[in-house]
């Protein structure tokens, strides 16, 4: 009759105990968090200081220490959605082909005549040749420069498309090469943003790729989205260019292989520079904030061997000539080369304060972003607002729980009490599971839990109502209980699967807080079905075995 095998009883009990254990750390959020931070600090190789030891001792390490992450709306912090301007990279790639193309075409001077680079959109290279009848030869020669692409989708394709029309030869990146470049650009941007945020030392940032060209960045605890943008929004592309002329005005039109850039400090002063840099920030190995000989904040840097060699060769050949240090399309400074710089290190002084020097050093150390970022969405939530929400949510959850308990006990007596006990276990299991998978609790997520409290009793109600009905007809209470569970099952399963489908859809299509809500809703459904079908049943059966009542009232 009413029987549950011993192994089933034990496993139900085990699941409950594990769930409760996993949920416990959340009751001691502060101490556990400090304990975890201390543990991470030690893992990273920090020297154990008394503070770290004290923090470590706040929570015994044999107990689980997983916590539910608090979402930005609860903890406060900044949220940014950035779009990577993938096309930015094409221009650089195209510029990279120019010297090679120029040298190749020069060798063919006999058939194609003189060559000249033309103005073009940034993702194209256009070259005019003076003898159009040699175009086929030119195209063939340039095409030979193409190299095959190594990627899953681009098998058998090359990286450039070359075509000739009239006296203009056009070189563009092929579709496959663009796709591969885009992917690489995004990966690089992700990596660099991650490094910059890590350097700033914040806790548990979320940095995720979204779609083809977007990056989602969430940093809890940071003061404002503005601060975060300053950190990650700067491209920090550092380049060193030979100077052609200083003091040119903005009306000058540079040639195709020249650049006209403004001075960072003096407004209205422009420099005419050679387009190809001598060395770039990619060749930097280290960068530190410091002070120059006049005691002004400065940033020192060191080149890797190849950068150092290139810089050394250039400076020794151009003593007396000026060169420009360019940061994000602005000339920071343009000193004259006094002597060959072969040591591979240097220093940038400009009009910046200590904070800026600090940030610039971090940016240079983390590397330049390959492309510019445009911010599509930004949100800042103050920590106080989050705390208010947590408090309000907690009170609401407790009141909801109390109301439901009273209601259930009044309606179903002892069975109602069993159901509320199961409800308590249910909430604990939700927190346990959330901690286990490192889920994030958001404000709608709290609402989801409160809603689950309301809905979790549904399965119990279905069963209890069914038992009531069966009591009218069935032979004896044991049979009624058994039939009640049996017949209510299909309704419970259908009703919860449908809601679960909704949770899955919310999770797949939603973002941010909606996603957090979907996770709690989904977990809530799983745990409430488990507690209703197994835990409450086990409680009833245990009670029944002890008392063996002739008749029951539900």
């Amino acid at each position: 009759m009413l029987q549950i095998a011993l192994w089933k009883r034990l496993s139900i009990l085990l699941v409950c105990v594990i769930g409760l254990l996993l949920a416990t750390p959340n009751l001691f959020y502060g101490p556990v968090e400090r304990h975890n931070d201390a543990a991470t600090a030690l893992e990273r190789g920090s020297v154990p200081t008394p503070e770290i030891e004290a923090a470590l001792a706040e929570w015994p390490s044999f107990l689980p220490s997983g916590l539910v992450n608090l979402g930005l709306d609860l903890r406060g912090g900044a949220h940014l959605l950035a779009e990577v301007q993938l096309e930015d990279v094409y221009a650089g790639r195209i510029d990279g082909y120019w010297p090679e193309v120029r040298d190749t075409l020069r060798d063919l001077r006999g058939t194609i005549g003189t060559i000249r680079r033309q103005e073009s959109p940034p993702d194209e290279l256009r070259v005019r040749i003076s003898q159009p009848e040699g175009m086929q030869a030119a195209v063939d020669a340039v095409r030979a420069l193409a190299s095959p692409i190594v990627s899953l989708t681009g098998v058998g394709q090359t990286d450039i498309d070359v075509s000739g029309a009239g006296d203009i030869l056009t070189l563009t990146l092929s579709e496959a090469e663009r796709a591969a470049t885009d992917d690489r650009t995004l990966q690089q941007s992700l990596e660099i943003i991650r490094r910059r945020v890590d350097e700033a030392g914040t806790r548990e940032p979320t940095i995720q790729r979204q779609g083809a060209d977007r990056i989602l960045i969430q940093v809890p605890g940071i003061g404002s989205a503005q601060e975060l943008k300053e950190l990650i929004g700067t491209t920090a592309r550092l380049t060193f260019h030979p100077v052609i002329a200083r003091g040119a005005d903005s009306a000058t039109t540079p040639d195709a292989d020249q650049l006209l850039l403004p001075d960072m400090e003096d407004e209205g002063v422009f420099y005419l520079l050679e387009r190809s840099p001598v060395v770039t920030g990619d060749d930097l190995v280290d960068s530190q904030p410091g002070f120059d000989q006049n005691g002004l904040p400065a940033v020192t840097f060191r080149f890797n061997p190849s950068g150092a060699r290139a810089f050394g060769v250039y400076t020794s050949e151009n003593i007396g000539a000026p060169f420009a240090i360019v940061l994000d399309e602005e000339v920071v400074t343009a000193p004259t080369i006094q002597s060959a710089i072969t040591g591979g290190s240097g220093q940038i002084t400009g009009n910046f304060g200590v904070d800026e020097a600090n940030r610039l050093a971090i940016l240079l150390r983390a590397g330049a972003l390959p492309a510019e970022l445009v911010f599509l969405e930004e949100r800042t939530i103050g920590p106080e607002l989050g705390q208010d929400s947590i408090d309000a949510g907690q009170i609401a959850a407790l009141v909801a729980m109390a109301a439901v308990v009273v209601f259930m006990v009044l309606s179903y007596g002892l069975f109602g009490a069993f159901a509320t006990l199961a409800l308590g276990i249910n909430v604990a299991l939700i927190f346990g599971l959330l901690s286990l998978i490192g889920g994030t609790l958001t404000l709608p997520g709290i609402a989801g839990i409160v809603l689950t409290i309301g809905m979790a009793v549904d399965a119990n109600v279905l069963v209890f109502e069914r038992i009531r009905e069966e009591l009218k007809t069935a032979k004896g209470p044991a049979r009624a209980i058994e039939l009640g569970y049996e017949k209510a099952l299909s309704a419970i399963v259908d009703a919860n699967i449908t809601t679960f489908i909704i949770a899955v859809i919310l999770f797949t299509l939603g973002s941010g807080p909606v996603r957090g809500f979907a996770v709690t809703l989904g977990i809530g459904i799983l745990t409430s079905v488990f507690t209703a079908i197994f835990v409450t049943r086990l409680l009833i059966v245990l009670w029944f075995e002890r008392r063996r009542p002739r008749q029951i009232e539900v």
Binding site: I381, S389, A392, V399, M408, L443, I502
Partner: protein, 321 residues
Amino acid sequence: MRLRLVPQDTNWDFMRWRHYTFGASVVAMVASLAIWLLVGLNFGIDFLGGTTIRTESSQAVDVGAYRDALAPLDLGDVTITEVFDPTFAPDQNVAQIRIQAQAGAESVTPETIAAVEVALQTVDPSLTFPSVESVGPKVSGELITTALIALAAAIGAMLFYIWLRFEWQFAVGAVAALVHDVVLTIGIFALLQIRFDLATIAALLTVLGYSINDTVVIFDRLRENLIKFKKTPLIEVMNRSVNETLSRTLMTSGTTLLALVALIVLGGDVIRGFVFAILWGVIVGTYSSVYVAKNVVLMLGVERDPKKPSDAGTQFADIDA
């Protein structure tokens, strides 16, 4: 003595009111659609783009002074509303400032936000800005699309699942009830001009989940009774099923409503709109499971050939019964 929401054995003739209730539902839906189209929804920045700034101060909010301070910035459409909430402390004065998406910008520029903050602080130096949110027009357009896809996907999935587990008439009935619930919820949001944002979409989907839950429980009982009482007219079997599940329906709605009322009163103003949508949806959803879903099934009729006892649905249903 037990608390009973309904007498033990009811035999109320629910379906007697079906013409009136169905008519009322149709009228309510038409009215909702009309308000939606004529008045429009009060879309949040998630869907329109723009910036919202929440201000908090110990001094009273002076909407006029705020507006005057912002006027020289020439920001286009600026809405300033004071926020009241029983959970606020006595000296906590909160206002919400909303700035339309600026032309040509993907996102409101940081300079604009900084200028707004400075301008406001000249009015009230103790102002703080607990939250600043800004969504560009590009993203907001996509968010609308995604939200619509999510709603459509949810309804489609329900249609398919119910069709699989029951019969197609049930699926049509259940989905009619879902559409009814969604339309009425959108209607009340348009009527009361409650802010409609991403969280509201989540709430709508939750309402779908709750409503389908309720509908399925009644359908489950109907399916069972249809097998038990093969000769009884459909309308009587329906009445019987509603009566049998009435106690459960009220208990579940009751507990859920208790929890939601606790949230709406004590949960703070940030999630009030979200909770309100769910609260309204639970009430409408409970009603629609009886009066929309079953009405539609009644109109469509159910195949009750005794030779092939309700094939498609129950063959799966037996697995876990």
